[in-house]
Symmetry: D3
Subunit: 337 residues, 6 copies
Amino acid sequence: MKEVNSMIKAFGEVMMRLEVPNHLKLEQATELGVLYSGTGINVLSALSRFGHSTSIITKLPDNALGDAAISYIRSLGIETSDIITGGNYLGMYFLEKGYHVRKTNVTYSNRKESSFCTSKITDYNVEEVLRGTSILHLCGIMLSISEQMRYNALTIAKKAKQLGITVVFDFNYRPKLWQEDFTQAKKWYECMLAYVDICFMTDMDALFILRMESTEKSRKQRMKQLIPEVAKKYNVATIAGSLRDQENQQICGFLYQQDVMYFSRTYQYQVLDRIGSGDAYASGILHGILKKFTDEDTVDFATAACVLAHTTYGDSPICSEEEIWLLAKQNNVQIER
Amino acid sequence: MKEVNSMIKAFGEVMMRLEVPNHLKLEQATELGVLYSGTGINVLSALSRFGHSTSIITKLPDNALGDAAISYIRSLGIETSDIITGGNYLGMYFLEKGYHVRKTNVTYSNRKESSFCTSKITDYNVEEVLRGTSILHLCGIMLSISEQMRYNALTIAKKAKQLGITVVFDFNYRPKLWQEDFTQAKKWYECMLAYVDICFMTDMDALFILRMESTEKSRKQRMKQLIPEVAKKYNVATIAGSLRDQENQQICGFLYQQDVMYFSRTYQYQVLDRIGSGDAYASGILHGILKKFTDEDTVDFATAACVLAHTTYGDSPICSEEEIWLLAKQNNVQIER
Amino acid sequence: MKEVNSMIKAFGEVMMRLEVPNHLKLEQATELGVLYSGTGINVLSALSRFGHSTSIITKLPDNALGDAAISYIRSLGIETSDIITGGNYLGMYFLEKGYHVRKTNVTYSNRKESSFCTSKITDYNVEEVLRGTSILHLCGIMLSISEQMRYNALTIAKKAKQLGITVVFDFNYRPKLWQEDFTQAKKWYECMLAYVDICFMTDMDALFILRMESTEKSRKQRMKQLIPEVAKKYNVATIAGSLRDQENQQICGFLYQQDVMYFSRTYQYQVLDRIGSGDAYASGILHGILKKFTDEDTVDFATAACVLAHTTYGDSPICSEEEIWLLAKQNNVQIER
Amino acid sequence: MKEVNSMIKAFGEVMMRLEVPNHLKLEQATELGVLYSGTGINVLSALSRFGHSTSIITKLPDNALGDAAISYIRSLGIETSDIITGGNYLGMYFLEKGYHVRKTNVTYSNRKESSFCTSKITDYNVEEVLRGTSILHLCGIMLSISEQMRYNALTIAKKAKQLGITVVFDFNYRPKLWQEDFTQAKKWYECMLAYVDICFMTDMDALFILRMESTEKSRKQRMKQLIPEVAKKYNVATIAGSLRDQENQQICGFLYQQDVMYFSRTYQYQVLDRIGSGDAYASGILHGILKKFTDEDTVDFATAACVLAHTTYGDSPICSEEEIWLLAKQNNVQIER
Amino acid sequence: MKEVNSMIKAFGEVMMRLEVPNHLKLEQATELGVLYSGTGINVLSALSRFGHSTSIITKLPDNALGDAAISYIRSLGIETSDIITGGNYLGMYFLEKGYHVRKTNVTYSNRKESSFCTSKITDYNVEEVLRGTSILHLCGIMLSISEQMRYNALTIAKKAKQLGITVVFDFNYRPKLWQEDFTQAKKWYECMLAYVDICFMTDMDALFILRMESTEKSRKQRMKQLIPEVAKKYNVATIAGSLRDQENQQICGFLYQQDVMYFSRTYQYQVLDRIGSGDAYASGILHGILKKFTDEDTVDFATAACVLAHTTYGDSPICSEEEIWLLAKQNNVQIER
Amino acid sequence: MKEVNSMIKAFGEVMMRLEVPNHLKLEQATELGVLYSGTGINVLSALSRFGHSTSIITKLPDNALGDAAISYIRSLGIETSDIITGGNYLGMYFLEKGYHVRKTNVTYSNRKESSFCTSKITDYNVEEVLRGTSILHLCGIMLSISEQMRYNALTIAKKAKQLGITVVFDFNYRPKLWQEDFTQAKKWYECMLAYVDICFMTDMDALFILRMESTEKSRKQRMKQLIPEVAKKYNVATIAGSLRDQENQQICGFLYQQDVMYFSRTYQYQVLDRIGSGDAYASGILHGILKKFTDEDTVDFATAACVLAHTTYGDSPICSEEEIWLLAKQNNVQIER
């Protein structure tokens, strides 16, 4: 039905999301919404809708939870033949959505004991799995989980690089997971950057993980200073990311390639379900690059994808390319440069 | 409002139960029912309804899941002031209810990494917690979890015994957790029996855990042979349990005390939600003993409580003493000797 | 759309039914099903489906609860132009459905303070309301509520009788409401019977309310003895009712007219929602009489309507005449004479 | 209970609305909300609440879907005795509610094959149905469906005109249904206008359907120019409509009668469920005319009815006259001239 | 688990709240959300979360409704041993939440016939119940219900005063219940004030109940004038309350003690569920006093608690002290002096 | 993850199933369960779970309904790359589940106007689609829809036969669709049988469609007589089917191959959701043949698969091979020869 463009794979964790409905607190709930999520499948879900072939490389327990995750991933249009089974648990998180000044609260369960987080890279048939792959997506959270996970992530990245596959890496920095041990984080992020072609990050990552310095106070200015430095120092061809102004509920994307920094228009956003909106942004950038959009179009498309991902339920983006262009090309009050 | 009779405490795990509704499989579900369960709180929930003061001794994570469990336990009428907080996880199980020939399926998560299962007995202020307690309830599953859990269970049982508290122990044998290592199981169950006053078990436990032998083929006959042997060998004052005939959906309870074996009438049962029905039986026996019912009444009351627990939603029994007597005293076709 | 046959009206209370779903107890519920019910609207709902014009004469509060009741009654196909508004409350009952040996539990709220139960017969424009009415249906519960309600019921019955309207009366005896004061009950039921043409009752009503005597032990024999006595003594043209064997889940209807007692076949029944099944029976008898079915057909149709009413949700019968005939004419194992 | 004022009938389609809940996309949904809708029953639902007698003239399939639609229509207070049954299908539409920048999406099913859209005018007993009717409401969508539907609509309009019944016509222009064939649309709308007394339309209809011309750029000015032209050219006594400023979420109504153009205050609106708000406006105008409100009051009442219809669930307006006056008479910041 | 600070009790009614979901009107609903509420348990729920021991003194019917209320109250962390049972009914209210310009609608049922409202003060063992109590909370609604309720409230207040317990009184003026009989209201409120140490009220209460006078037009100025007058005239040590600007959705709290009036910052609020937000404010003031916060901190904490109570489902506040401080100490655009 | 065995494709319709929950009638429902179904995807769903590669060949509308169907089909593990899009509608059916004596009611919508039923065989790239296919499954309902559908079905069957693909055909006779025009049905079924290798049918099909004759009264005997006749006359290698005794809720399967008739044991069944159980049977037979089970094992496996399909929600079988063997090999009272 859909013309296949490229085969994009992600190596990453799939978690169960258990959501308290109607802005209740968990203690008030007798029912929880359940779905399956992860940076990898979020990015792939969006790319699949844009007509690309996608496949997730992960490990799931061989039980009802693993089966349910596979069925859900398939429904998103992602291939599941690279999934291996074994281990004991599926990682989980409980989501209590906030309201206005009340904060959203996320509680993790089985973070480090999951089938994926306890897997070894040799469990996966890496050579075969990477054959025919155009793009491999990896998420920075893996670097924080354990020695084993770092090894897995770096090994597959290195192998992909050797095979000429485009390596995509999303910083996804979570200070809590590193217990603010910035030295450790820097070391491993730098190891990874050696293999990376396309990288998702912001000025904050440059400051706090890569320990760069800047005297610029405006984030946009800091971005203009630091991102080219990162690209140069770590030899990364493409860097992209987004700048969120939570106070005014505005977002603006950027894309740095071949010495030029492109900024998207600034979009207003409203939140139905925010998780996964960053992954929607990444999928938009990758789609633009794969389809050879102009850089201006790419960054606008990605930001519109991100804005629309705030308006759909669930972590995995499900808007069509057509819906995204409609917003990206729109010229009304809700959007301003 | 209710006249307080005795203070009964249980030392045991509290888990989150995540139930797939309407006989769906997990992969078909977008919503899960959530509640909190455990042998300890199940027994205490029933006893609380019978007018006793009850309190659960356990450890829960200091997060939204722990808070929700506490709120639920309170709603059952169980005191929560003996609960300590800390650790990372709440144990969980996913319940896919079967239908007719399709089996019910239970999938555990975080079985051994829970706050309770990773707690040390020194985390609890055992001396203070046991002060003023009449009965302490313990469950055999603890013996299978880990060295630490065995130590915790045996330590608190010993301490209770020393303080003259009635120690209640439910065999609750789960072969899977022991990986059928019967030798190991026997050793630890015997350690525990040294402190036990009231014990819940069946002939199967005598055969498979305590490694006793019998040539009797009828379970009732085997029961009559083995239970007195157990009582004598391990010096246990009271042994009770129930005999389920799943084929005919019938159940019959027994109570062995002072050299006499009492059997209840045989009741038909139908299943709305079966989990926790054994705990309802135990609560009925304990209530009969505390209230000095005749042994015949005690075993009939307990079996009726068990039968009714099949007809209510959730693991924790919620029928009133009045409802149970109504069934226990009933003389109709649904019940036969 | 439907050919109008006769105008049938009922004078009676409409209550709100608040149902705990999924066999939960009220304390376990966070949601309740809500609908509106009453002997009058139950009988009219069924008759409306059989093609008759129907209208309920009642009083409802002039607030959101009254509005909701009216909307629901309309959806059943019953006219609401005879409803008057005023007073403070809508009567309510909470329904906790049992399961197997666990009993169904009903808790009333605002039984005697409702707009209907505190209304005066002069609130209704009785003359006008009865104009053009063929049948007036009344329920015996009214006789137990208060002096005022007895007066209202007897006044409208008398007026209907004077106008040549067929007066239908359902004993609906609720001992609790009379606090077992049989003398009082007998007196008022006898007052009512003076105006009644068609009466729904059983041998139990003859024994306990009308204080008749019988040495017959089988209910069927007692019925054969007592019902003709009632018909004769109180000059009631038609008496009908049903005999339920709860143990075997069987039901059998009877109809006594012109000195002949007809019994239906014995039907098996299974319960999805039992409330209102007696009203379905009554509607079947009335339909048979209005449509001049043979007496045999009438009693079979009525019993089949009753059996089907056990299989639909809600108190108000909603099966079509076609569905009922299908069952009434069926000759399979589930039905036996 | 309610004093009857006038008998208002609508000839029009009733559809099933299947709504995806919680802003999900259809592919994410396992449950859909179901109700029944249509311009005709929406207008009648509102008028019924204002105390008028109303009846829908339509054709529904003689199956469970038709029965369900009838029950729903009755619950709105609309008479269903003019409904005929037959044909095969009920028209349907699937509603995926948008969120913020994400658009609402409507997918039709069985648009042209429905019982109504395949009915012939001779199926209805037009003479009898129109007897005693004060007002007949028709919707412009009928003109776009098929040759047969155009014939039906024009025939009943003509007949009503002959009988001195006030003919109300709502343009309800849907360019998609005409495939932008403006010439065709103009011809048939003009045929209809020959019979119309009260017409709902805007300047856009004058421009795009009636092919009038204007150099005015402000919509309000254009309205002031074109609406009197329409009234004069087609001899329509009353024209009304509303002007929505979607950007600022504001709405303002107008009413043109006897050479005078009245505008309501400008109201802010917020959307819970927008479909049917135009029908609420129409019902307000009709009520004002029937009750002889001043023109200023009529247009304010209608606009307030329209604003409130955005705040209630479902297509059919359900606010009371009292609630509408409360808003119409309110003098606060949420409303401004 | 939680360090016990003080024992706070409330004497007051517990009602069942039946909520129409999703902004429907009652007539559109087939399901209602159910929970239990009341000024007393709302205040205690919040205080319990702040680490205080709390207990509700009330009377509930001895049926399924009473049992359900007790279970719910326990889940909030409130002790239920002071609850007595008897009487017939549980008070109820039906909640139809509005949307934007559509008003929220509350319909009461069994307001005056409830177990609590028909109880006598001698039903409660007042002496024993008050033993060991630090604070007793009472609500002004009781003064409007009946002669008996006034007597009950004044008797327990007087007794508490004699025992040196801090008496807290919330004006909670409901003009409808007094049918605007201001003279009556003034008399009884003055009787109560004789026993009160801490009082919740506003300038409006001073004007309309206590019949004071002011020429100030700004509510803040009027507050500054009238509150000290009340404190002096009635010898009330502490008076607190909040000032809501509904138009701009802003709220500001005040606290008057020892001749000084403290105002909190002005907070923006948005409403998920507003009922109980005033009780959250009261709980914040009481917590500040008990924990000896500075007056400035107390009033800011209370106002933040109130704002957060708008963002949680249900009447009883459930935010933690930590969440409240987070908002109270926050320095962003959503909050301004 | 799963070892791929064979590529099995089905050419057939996919419909939307709209289910009234909780045994309600449609007129009582405000919510409907929604899923996607069809003989083809039901058989493929089961085969996919048994480890086979499967793909559905169908046509779906290019709108939200088509997208939702594709996502659902994917979640079942079926490939969707052979699906083409276009046309207007998705076929639908409304399901009102019966209860006990009340019959299940199915109402179709858009039966003949669906994208699939209005498609031409040239819309599909038949050559390419059949490449590499081992088995092609077709359903007899197609023969009754229209001239075009008959042509489509026969054309693809013929092509498959030519390519040496195993053609599987399920009679699935629906008398209503043929309006009992047996002559027409016979003709087209015979055309199809010319291409068929494996056929699902019963004695009833032989009698009523193929117009064969038998004097045997027992269905089993008739089967033994007629099935071999069909196999011989039409040269069909394998014929299988099942015999349902609805009265006793028993089912027994048969398989006829190489002149031998095998019967399975007789299984009891209970119905949670019966639709699709015949497709489960077919999938079991196909799996047995593909995996070269003995004929006895094949027919027992297929019947057990059928019995289990009664116990799961939805039309598409989702039990695992392991679960089915467990039942097929079970030797308890619920199963008897």
